[in-house]
Symmetry: C2
Subunit: 377 residues, 2 copies
DNA sequence: TTGAAAGCGCTAACAG
DNA sequence: CTGTTAGCGCTTTCAA
């Protein structure tokens, strides 16, 4: 049992027998050998440079550089669980509303060394589930940018990985949201300042959280300013929905309209114009979202812009905080401020109130003011 | 040295000492123990079911299921190098042009069990490089959906990972492209059939490959149909560029205009209308790309739609073939067919040719025909 | 068909 | 500050 003295000690096996530095990408072992240090030192030189002698670190980096060594994130992820990846789930990547949000999230993630996995649901709950399912083991956290999932499904998800919801309020799930109250106040103030006394709200989907918020805020602020409000709808949150709203629109009643979103506003304007109405001559129109297209319509649409980019970056920022160990309660929900872009679809109401339905008149060329594009927001 | 008979054999060390099945997610070892098999058998049951007895496999899957076991893609990636991830690099995720392409790529990847990493360059070459750099070690291949990189940089990249370029022709790098010739032929045929005899081309960036293709094809097909062509520009590929083109536009010369892309066409129309021109009364306008907005302008824009979705899915399809070992030469470049959407911005030329600059007239309400949205393409 | 054992490339105690 | 030594969870020869 006891080895005889002259018996050679077990071969030191200093560094375990690794595959020779064949071709393929160099590893820390290759660098270690070339630099004459232990592999763990190389590892430290890259992952915690402060734990290594400055000179040694420099030498290692030099050797690594000319060997073309690059840390392998996968190999690093295995022992640490830190994949440096987060997922961004959207219900529909095709929806113009989300571009800036995605970009804001992307940029914030990249800045912190995180890579973004895109999980597009393509409008299907099943695809969303499946996509998330596949992605979960790989990511450290998830931003739910828009989702069709139920509250309970989201809570479930939040048990497996840190989750931040965007523009959705679910108890126990931290989120970042737009300041819907402020956005409506901006719309109302603008119209009121112009002299409008009645406003019609083109309602969006009843299930949409934002829709309820908008209507409630509208009543509140309009009331404060002595403005009469009414609501028609609900309509689909699309240009088609807006067109239907135009057909329903009681022209004599309101000199101003606030639509659930830009798409509805645009569809509404187009249809109304085809009926012979003048905008903003007969009716002023305000939308929400400031989608790219809203600066390209005739007339250009006055709209309230959500802080999309900020929404995206804040979501990621908070998510990374969560991942870093912050408690969900610490990550306070934050309502981000909006901004109104005044363009050509709003003006003072006509002094003589008569319906455009009585006497359709030719339109005037679109005027241009404040035609800022979304990207400058 | 030779162990005495009664000496116990080295402890079997059957399965190496792993951390007890503490909390956290179950591993193949947990499943193996619960199912009474070796960990390697569990591994096989999931990665190559055909190499395992059907019953055993079934039992293992059952045990795994109720343990809640799920294969860990990261752990699998380490020994095999198969991460099941591909990267999709875009120069600007905010560009409406790419939505459907991204979605097509995403869907194709998901279908084959691949996850898509989004690398948005945010218009910066530096960010693009850096993003790609970070992502390379993690992905099995890359789709370059739009990129600012130089040809040589791309060839470099292609040495590290399989690469498919979209709408870009680089020797030695397989690609998928739109059939630019066909798309221009569709535009010319449409205008010719309407009776136009002269066409003005609003040129895009000179560096853009598509721009050269379009102009060349235009000359070719217009020639075949006896149509006179001229070109003005170059202009930025934006609505602003189109507006500048409108200022330059020699109204008397052409009854029809083909723009480099939809954005240019839209900017052109708006500015021309503000000058008092009627579209399509005075000038017919055709764009390229069929971006979302083109169905929402007044008048709605006639445009030639690239097969974006197909472009995306084909790119991924070919990329996976490459990853699967297909030789680059096998993956033949393919020019995908386009489709023209005839809307309200084109009509037969006015019988009496006079310049709208002489006598601006009030516009008519937009007509509606073929106002299909991009998503239905 | 199944089991044992050696890694994939990197991190992380624990000594020294 | 640096080297040694176990693994992270899975795949994969090689034997049995």
């Amino acid at each position: 049992m006891t080895p005889s003295p002259e018996q050679p000690a077990r071969p030191a096996a200093a560094e375990p027998r690794r595959r020779s530095s064949a071709r393929s990408t160099p590893t820390i072992y290759d660098v270690a050998r070339a630099a004459g240090v232990a592999s763990s030192t190389v590892s430290r030189a890259f992952s915690r440079p402060d734990r290594v002698n400055a000179e040694t670190a420099a030498r290692i980096r030099a050797v690594a550089a000319d060997l073309g060594y690059r840390t392998n994130p996968l190999a690093r992820a295995l022992p640490t669980g830190q994949t440096s990846m987060i997922a961004l789930a959207t219900a529909d990547i095709t929806n113009p509303y989300y571009f800036e949000l995605i970009r804001g999230a992307q940029a914030a993630a990249a800045e912190r060394g995180y890579t973004t996995l895109l999980a597009d649901a393509q409008e299907s709950v099943a695809i969303e589930r499946e996509g998330l399912e596949r992605v979960i083991p790989t990511v450290e956290g998830i931003v739910l940018a828009s989702t069709r999932m139920s509250d309970s499904a989201i809570r479930m998800l939040a048990k497996q990985r840190p989750v931040i919801a965007v523009n959705r309020d679910i108890s126990d799930v931290p989120n970042v949201v737009t300041d819907h109250a402020m956005s409506m106040r901006q719309a109302v103030d603008h119209l009121a300042d112009l002299g409008h006394r009645q406003i019609t709200y083109l309602s969006g989907p009843e299930a949409a959280w934002a829709n309820g918020m908008r209507w409630r805020s509208l009543r509140l602020y309009a009331g404060e300013r002595g403005i009469h409000v009414r609501r028609i709808g609900p309509y689909a949150p699309t240009a088609g929905g807006g067109a239907r709203a135009a057909a329903d629109f009681p022209a004599v009643r309101s000199s101003a309209v606030i639509a659930y979103n830009d798409l509805v506003a645009i569809g509404f304007m187009r249809r109304l114009i085809s009926f012979g109405a003048r905008i903003p001559g007969d009716v002023s129109v305000v939308g929400f979202d400031n989608i790219f297209t809203s600066a390209l319509t005739s007339p250009e649409l006055t709209t309230v812009a959500p802080p999309l980019r900020t929404l995206g970056s804040m979501a990621v920022h908070n998510l990374l905080a969560l991942i870093g160990g912050a408690s969900p309660t610490t990550v306070r929900p934050l309502a981000l401020p909006t901004r109104i872009y005044v363009r050509a679809s709003t003006a003072a109401p006509a002094t003589r109130r008569r319906s455009w339905r009585d006497a359709p008149a030719p339109r005037e060329p679109a005027t241009t003011r404040g035609n800022r594009l979304p990207s400058s927001g």
